[in-house]
Subunit: 358 residues, 2 copies
């Protein structure tokens, strides 16, 4: 099995630890390895290093090469971010180039997966039914009426000789309001769309040829320079002209080809905010539900996320439901429930005299 | 008029800005000059620099000399802190030595006074009635049922030819509980004891001779070496044997001599905690009642005290009633109402591996 790991995008949700030049996927926000490294490690029993292609922004190429220096993975730097359609197209093209004839997994680099065995089982099953012409998604079985994720609605079961539990997809559904999310959760026909799917590169490229012909022409031009010194320069020319469009919107929501979904219960999260990271790391809580890292002293504090990454002493007294993120050049103190508003901080800093803190 | 400014004591209530070697009286916690400098400046129209004696801990001598290098004040370093009786005795002795024959004001270096004119008027009036044998205190007219201060209970009016409003003191009263504090406030016979009084040095020394004979003997020994190279060494010997006792307890509560009180309404505070400093600085609030200093960004925050003294960017989101004190090597985040518990932090650090943060 091959894999395309999407590691593009710049981080704003985990400021001040994530910065313009160090987005979330390159950070060890779980206290262990950087997320992109963890994503590679998670795939390892299924995919050889040499069969992994990591697509990311060119500005992060050096960082990624450094983090992944022990792995023989392929790393491609996009000259400019053009959303997931371009990223997946490029990954499919490159996977074919390095020898992929069967199925490849396409997945983001910055997600959290609690039950790795269940996740791998889902990918394996997806690979077994991902015959040419079929796209198989992982559908995360929802555990709460989440309004922050898109959903996948299933149709009838997909009959297969391996007895794999899979369904036809009847629709991709936008982020719902809370009432809809509750009915989705109760009904049992909806899964969270994690943006993880399995298909042969040929299938992906054929879909792009039909639904995103502009992108397809760009990929054809890139194909001619693959493995030559002209590849990088051609990428710049091609990417400059590409539309910014997601693969879900450009292909998955339009295609007539069979799209299947495999229900997966693997403790998945897209780790979209400090608050979700705090919730995911419950196993690290102290007796008062504080998640504490580094040189700290907490007196009568409850339900806080306090992380010291500055070499200083961080002292909290009587604090509740707060986020204290201490880095060498910037400090964030916020109500944990409002950690989504970290984006506003980044907006405030952008274009101000304070760009050095971006 | 002469003055003795008591600047002893090590700071624990304003950690992390105040440290063992930089207590509150040497800090500019109001954003202007250090408190000891402000205390000198406040007295200046009444007292020449050469008539001011500042008594402090020897470990702070260099710091004080540096802060006061532009002033021709006298600075005495006690080898060890022995509470206010020793400090006041030494100050009285030294004031006599440098020529004080009339009244001297004795006052702490680390208090806040909002209405300086009213304060000076109180001291001037006190000086006018402080004939030999009399001790005149300033009684701060209470504005709330404060349980953190000691009180002075007045008796009958003190008749004087200058028509100065003054009373005999009937008792010094310990910090009350809230119910008592409310009756004190309602009755009008009680004032806050600010530890500020006026008397001739001869009167002070005579009181000490009667009520604290051990201290008096020590002061006699010191007197013999005043102005000689043996003074410092003699201080070490004498202080080593002195009792640790306050002037209020050792003298004021026992004396049969006339003790008078002049009511004063000067916006006084002993600035005992971060919370009281926040309240005192209300003129510096922004529209959301935040007191903000330094490089900061606050989004939807109310009633906070945020001070950046580290060169970093401090960002707060959705924070309410909190204290964020950011220094180069330590950070404090606390509920503002619990800022008294900063002392507990200092206790925790004392004797731990973290003494470097004291």
């Amino acid at each position: 099995m091959y894999a395309v790991i999407m590691a593009g995008g710049s981080g704003t949700r985990f400021w001040p630890i994530s910065r313009k030049h160090r987005p979330k996927q390159f950070l060890n926000i779980f206290g262990d390895d950087p997320m992109v490294v963890e994503t590679c490690n998670r795939l390892k029993p299924l995919v050889r290093d040499e069969a992994m292609t990591i697509v990311l922004g060119r500005e992060h190429l050096e960082e990624a090469k450094n983090l992944l220096r022990d792995k023989k993975v392929h790393i491609l730097g996009e000259p400019i971010g053009r959303n997931t359609a371009a990223c997946i197209g490029l990954g499919a093209l490159y996977s074919e180039y390095i020898g992929c004839e069967g199925p490849a997994a396409f997945l983001p680099a910055d997600h959290f997966i609690n039950d790795v065995a269940a996740f791998r089982k889902g990918l394996e099953e997806a690979a077994r039914i991902a015959a040419p012409g079929k796209i198989v998604t992982l559908g995360i079985i929802p555990t709460r009426p989440e309004t922050g994720y898109g959903y996948i609605r299933r149709a009838e079961a997909f009959a297969n000789s391996d007895d794999i539990r899979a369904y036809h997809v009847s629709a991709f559904v936008e982020k719902p309001d809370i009432e809809k999310a509750k009915t989705y959760l109760a009904g049992g026909d909806y899964f969270w769309n994690a943006g993880i799917f399995v298909a042969t590169p040929g299938t992906i490229l054929e879909e792009i040829r039909r639904y995103l012909p502009g992108l397809y022409q760009g990929l054809e031009r890139l194909q001619r320079t693959l493995g030559t010194k002209d590849f990088e320069r051609e990428m710049e020319t091609v990417y400059d002209e590409l539309d910014n469009i997601s693969f879900d919107y450009g292909v998955m929501e339009r295609t007539d080809s069979p799209v299947l979904v495999i229900p997966c219960h693997c403790g998945w999260s897209d780790v979209g905010s400090w608050a979700s990271l705090y919730e995911l790391r419950s196993r690290d809580y102290d007796a008062d539900h504080n998640l504490v890292e580094g040189e700290t002293l907490l007196l009568d504090c409850k339900n806080n996320f306090v992380t010291e990454r500055s070499g200083r002493l961080v002292v909290c007294i009587g604090l509740k439901n707060c986020l204290v993120i201490d880095t060498p050049d910037a400090l964030l103190v916020a109500e944990i429930e409002r950690s989504q508003e970290v984006r506003k901080v980044v907006e405030h800093l952008t274009g101000s005299k304070r760009v050095k803190w971006l």
